[in-house]
Amino acid sequence: MPRPGFVLEVDRATPPTLFWHGESFRLERLPRGSRILYPPEPLNAIEDVRGAIEAALDHPVGEAQPLSSLLNPNMSLTIAFDDVSLPLPQMTAPDIRSLVIEAVLERAAEAGVTDVVLIAALALHRRMTESELRHALGNRVYNALAPRGQLTQHDAEDKQNMTVVGETDRGELVELNRRAVESDLLVYVNINLVSMDGGHKSVATGLASYDSIKFHHNVDTMVHSRSFMDRHNSELHSSNWRMGHVIKDAGVKIFQIETTLNTATFPESFRFLSRREWEWNLRDRASFIAASEALKKTPPHLARQIFQSVRSPYGVTGITAGEVEAVHERTLERVYQQQLVRVDGQSDILTLGLPFIGPYNVNSIMNPILVYCLGLGYLFNMYRNKPLVRKGGVVILSHPTRPEFDPAFHPSYVDFFDQVLTETTDPLVIESKYEESFARDPWYIHLYRTGNAYHGVHPFYMWYWGAHALDHLGGVIILGGDPKATRRLGFQSASTMADALEMARSIVGSDPSITHLHSPPLVMADVY
């Protein structure tokens, strides 16, 4: 029986705490009385995954019929799937998407459906490379469909292949991929790594245009998503759900397949990253020392390559298929069962160790804007009810925050960092003054459509992602962060934890309460 997560109160006997620090680690001694939120151990994985997929396809939930009964030779079938931003890190082969899509294609082949198209639901993310597609889909799926032009990637800027489905009662435009919408059946295959993923968001965002996405990817929505990891209190999700209802009312037939993973995030060689520090045995200590010392002597680009090659031995904890909302409710239950930990009360200071990877730097560099987004967007929002840190509190992020960018994947980030953040860091000003010009820039659009670049507007969304945290916090300190890059983000840098805590005290008072979110593996705080 896997042990649940819990909150540890630091005392004299507590060993130093492991902090992620980009492509390295830090051991920090937190003051006595600090709290450390440890994630639950990985739930037991399903042993017969193929069997579970078959069962899900045959026994859908909600108002849905078994998949086989929806297939016939004259139909058009579109299968959309989550892109490379999930899961993190990429899972060991076989990726759950490949197993699910193989099962769907097996049935489509049995039914003689020739008009089948796969679409990577990129939204405004970068196009996946061939090796990423092969990893996510498996060689069998790739070889059967890619040579025939039946494996495509969503292009939000291809106006000819987008279609307006309608508008919500609040005037939000729903413009989606034409092929997906006009197909007789749209099957969506998802990986629900965190509670933010899935549901109506899969189609309403993943297959939408910029003109549609901007209705929920904006500062106002983000500030009113408390948090966007809590579906029922997230304005981001409310907007997507409204759009989902428009899509349903327009007659688009969606068969949603959602999958959940446990938190077996690191391979055996990095076992110490998943263990609680006082349970480290000799091998774990030796592994930690060897890894830390080796990483100190490794050039950053090499360390990045090593970490990016990590594959997570995630286990599948559930597969549900059928009607979107019914499926998603079950998915959320499983995600919460794996990740949720009760925490009593907020604290003055929240500390976060940021790892080498976030959703938008797979096989790439985590630039300062992505550091900001991972810390204040994702990890800050890993809560239900209220944030782990009080209003006016301080967040301390641990990350080197080097001003390095990937020019192929993140071209507009470079200009955002140099041209926008030098003027202002206020999300509202940034949104009103700069967003449109970046979003409509023909060069960024060209790179998004033909290369592997994120859309020109993407760095703006990263900034909005942290808008709720910026609105809530009294200060942000980056421990070990490059001073110049940290200042550009509008934050302070500190070289030691003691310095960072001292700086934080000047904001929150002399005897602050401290909570550390010991993640990854992923953990979500249920704060009362």
């Binding site: 082969a93 076989p94 489509a108 060689n139 070889n143 059967a144 890619a146 040579p147 032009g149």
Partner: protein, 253 residues
């Protein structure tokens, strides 16, 4: 001996496995040795298939460029490759003078040469970018290049296949491309690429459609539907079963 083996066993067996349809076969009767045949590369069956469709007068005087790292990494493999198929080693990892000199010498001695300028079998059925070695050799010896497009061997025994699934194939034979006086290697390579593209489209459509100017893709998609491809691959589960036996055949790389 080699001609006997080719005519009596390899060519009939290959025809039986691949049921080739040859388009524009008349070109082969007009050719004078030595010729450089270039073809797209879908399968290990491509070499015996080309030898099988060539008329005996050409087949008996044809050698085939084969990846030294794969076909000549072990003595036994090298022996059988050269004896049965007339393979000569081409260094793919580091372009070497020795490979080029051997190929040139054989051409000058009147041997035809088959090259696969993609450098390796296609991993996905799509034709890859052509390397310029064939064009370079044609210019060097001043002999024509005859493009051949092979369609169907990927489904029969493609790179991802673990066994042969007998089926049918199409080979489209192009007109000889004679290097012009002073022509650059890249220009001839472009002409070969274009010619192979047209032949590929012809394999999927017909002579006239293939030559329409609005054809966007340099090479066409395979002609079979995904359902057929899926069915022939249905027993493969490449990523779930750990290997039970050491690899007995194939490159050690």
């Amino acid at each position: 001996m080699r001609a006997f083996l080719l005519d009596s066993s390899i060519a009939p067996l290959t025809r039986r496995l691949t049921h080739p349809t040859i388009i524009n076969a008349a070109v082969l009767d007009t050719l004078e040795r030595p010729i450089i045949f270039v073809a797209n590369h879908q399968s290990h069956l491509d070499t015996p298939l080309i030898l099988a469709v060539l008329p005996p007068k050409l087949r008996h005087h044809t050698v085939v460029g084969a990846g030294a790292d794969f076909f000549f990494d072990r003595r036994t493999k090298g022996f059988f490759s050269s004896t049965l198929l007339g393979a000569i080693p081409i260094d793919r990892v580091r372009p070497s003078r020795a490979s080029a000199e051997l190929a040139t010498q054989l051409l000058e001695d009147g041997w035809n040469l088959v090259l696969f300028p993609e450098g390796a079998r296609t991993p996905d059925g799509l034709t890859q970018e052509l390397k310029s070695g064939a064009a370079q050799m044609a210019i060097k010896v001043g002999r024509p290049v005859v493009p051949l497009f092979i369609d169907g061997t990927y489904e029969i025994f493609g790179k991802a296949s673990d066994r042969i699934h007998p089926g049918s194939t199409t080979i489209v034979i192009g007109q000889p491309l004679v290097p012009h006086e002073g022509e650059k290697v890249s220009d001839l390579n472009d002409r070969i690429t274009d010619a192979l593209g047209v032949l590929g489209r012809e394999a999927a459509t017909d002579f006239f459609t293939a030559r329409q100017p609005d054809q966007a893709l340099p090479f066409p998609a395979p002609s079979r539907s995904w359902v057929e491809a899926w069915r022939t691959s249905e027993h493969r589960h490449q990523h779930e079963e750990p290997r039970r036996w050491p690899k007995m055949f194939g490159s050690r790389r």
